[in-house]
């Protein structure tokens, strides 16, 4: 079980002080947060990709490489890499390079993005978002598996005799997750390719997450990659912790009430009961997180959104300290009753060992 954090890379005003961090502060804060995540023992840090304000995360592989150079152990991922508007050839090259530089300490999560104008800025049409995700990934998949590719599709210029360099580290393409909140076809895509499926989880009721994950598991089995409970599942989550739960509620409320996604909408209490948001003591966060398995089954990756809504860096780092404190209990809880045939989260080393075992 991998436990980590994910971020969208937004620049948001702190509603309690009215102060807006600069882009420079946000970019360096992301690095500091990733370093801290490693210090407290987390397994994964995932960064977003956006091409419009108020986001600073336009170039994830640059930031990931910098973080990788300053850390030793934590795995770098994305949340998400835009498969619709990014040329799959550049994804193959950028992430292929990152895979070598990090000695395989990376993977990526593909998503479509949701801001209309971003598509035309990159010469694409949002109405064809799903087709773009399907075709672009089909090309990316080949670029990482075939040394020489002849290819023609609808959305980019054809390729004749093209080799994406560098070739994958140890001949093993980076592991790919597909992220989607509500599109069954993306779960289908993940199942078809034997890739991972990540559900954002945090903005919608658990009943919806359960159905999307169940669909992915069912189709994973349908395509013959293993039993449904062996499919590779990741979930989002979000919390705000203080040792005293009422302190957590009081401190987080102004951030919640003004948050970019759900702010000025439901109350903190309603949203906490309708979605996985947990604002309270470390024990409450521990128990709530371990309950996610009740509706998605044993899974492989749990990422938390903690760096958002204008929370100051110092607060985010304190949240990581608290997460580090409950980490052993989280790991023990996730391990409890987990059947032996449920796979661990994929890593480069683990996949390499599996390949060698299969060959032997």
């Amino acid at each position: 079980m991998q436990i980590g954090i994910f971020s969208v890379g937004d620049v948001t005003t702190d509603p309690t002080t009215g102060r807006t961090p600069t882009e420079h502060e946000r970019i360096t804060a992301q690095v500091r947060i990733a370093e801290k995540a490693e210090e407290v023992g987390l397994d994964v840090v995932a960064l977003g990709q956006h091409h419009n304000p108020p986001f600073v995360a336009s170039s994830p592989t640059t930031t990931m490489a910098w973080i990788a150079a300053r850390t030793k152990r934590i795995l770098l991922s994305t949340s998400t890499t835009l498969i619709t508007t990014t040329d799959p050839v550049r994804i193959a090259e950028d992430y292929g390079t990152l895979q070598h530089l990090t000695e395989g300490r990376m993977d990526l999560m593909l998503g479509r993005g949701n801001t209309g104008p971003v598509y035309p800025w990159f010469g694409k049409d949002i109405r064809r978002g799903l087709e773009l995700a399907v075709e672009n990934y089909a090309l990316l998949h080949r670029l990482w598996r075939e040394d020489v590719v002849d290819w023609q599709g609808q959305f980019r210029t054809p390729l004749q005799g093209f080799t994406a360099t560098p070739r994958p580290l140890d001949g093993l393409p980076p592991f790919v997750w597909h992220g989607s909140i509500r599109t069954p076809e993306i779960a289908e895509q993940a199942a078809y390719y034997d890739d991972g499926f990540f559900h954002n989880h945090i903005f919608w009721p658990a009943s919806h997450t359960r159905q999307m994950v169940a669909l992915y598991r069912r189709r994973f089995e349908h395509y013959g990659h293993g039993a449904a409970d062996q499919a590779i599942v990741g979930l989002g989550g979000q919390f705000f912790m203080r040792r005293n739960s009422q302190d957590a509620v009081n401190e987080f409320r102004p951030y919640f009430d003004n948050a970019p996604v759900y702010g000025h909408g439901p109350s903190l209490e309603d949203f906490s009961s309708q979605t996985p948001l947990t604002v309270g003591s470390p024990q409450q966060v521990l128990e709530r997180t371990l309950s996610f398995r009740d509706y998605v089954g044993d899974y492989q990756r749990q990422l938390f959104l903690i760096d958002h809504a204008g929370l100051p860096l110092s607060t985010v780092l304190e949240q990581l300290d608290l997460l580090g404190e409950i980490l052993p209990d989280l790991r023990a809880g996730f391990a409890e009753g987990r059947p032996a045939h449920v796979p661990d989260a994929p890593t480069h080393a683990g996949r390499l060992a599996a390949r060698e075992e299969a060959a032997a």
Partner: protein, 214 residues
Amino acid sequence: MTRSLVVVSAGLGVPSSTTALAERLGAAAASALRDAGERVEVTHVELRPLAHALADRMLTGFATGDLDEALRTVSRADALVVATPVFTASYSGLFKTFVDALDPDALVGTPVLVAATAGTARHSLVIDHALRPLFAYLKAVVVPTGVFAASEDFGAGGGQDALGSRIDRAAGELAALVAGLPTRRTPLRAVSDPAEDVDDLPEPVPFEQLLHPR
């Protein structure tokens, strides 16, 4: 077979003339359906108590509780009566917000009787200039007679053009679109149902078909 007749009112006052009109239309439509030999179950959906939930739905993207149930009820209706007050030359914002919260396919083919109320008859074209286009966009089947009631209609006498006869004519038209026909199809895209724990996501298009269309 029991027909589900759902009556939606966006009236705000207590008592509300919009809700009063909606209830009269609902009763008349139910009676017309029974006359045509159908069994009818009438459900009333008041939007006022759902106003906060609707604002939340706009901001979060998902509906909860009573709103979720109301959206589900409307999506599964065999026939619909909708009534809104006229606000600033159109249906009210609350009414439109509820319609916005419906799945775009929720009302495809659903017979709908549209109604509106206002202080004066000068707003009566809201029926034809605002409500009809809205439901045409949703591919609902709007009955020919829309019912508009100004305050003065509630005090007017009987006769061919009186409110009562307009209500009966519209209710008859709605019943004629429902009675004797097969029951409403399963919604094209059902909403999620946490309470019943059903799996109602649409089946995905098989991937080979996504990869190689046509």
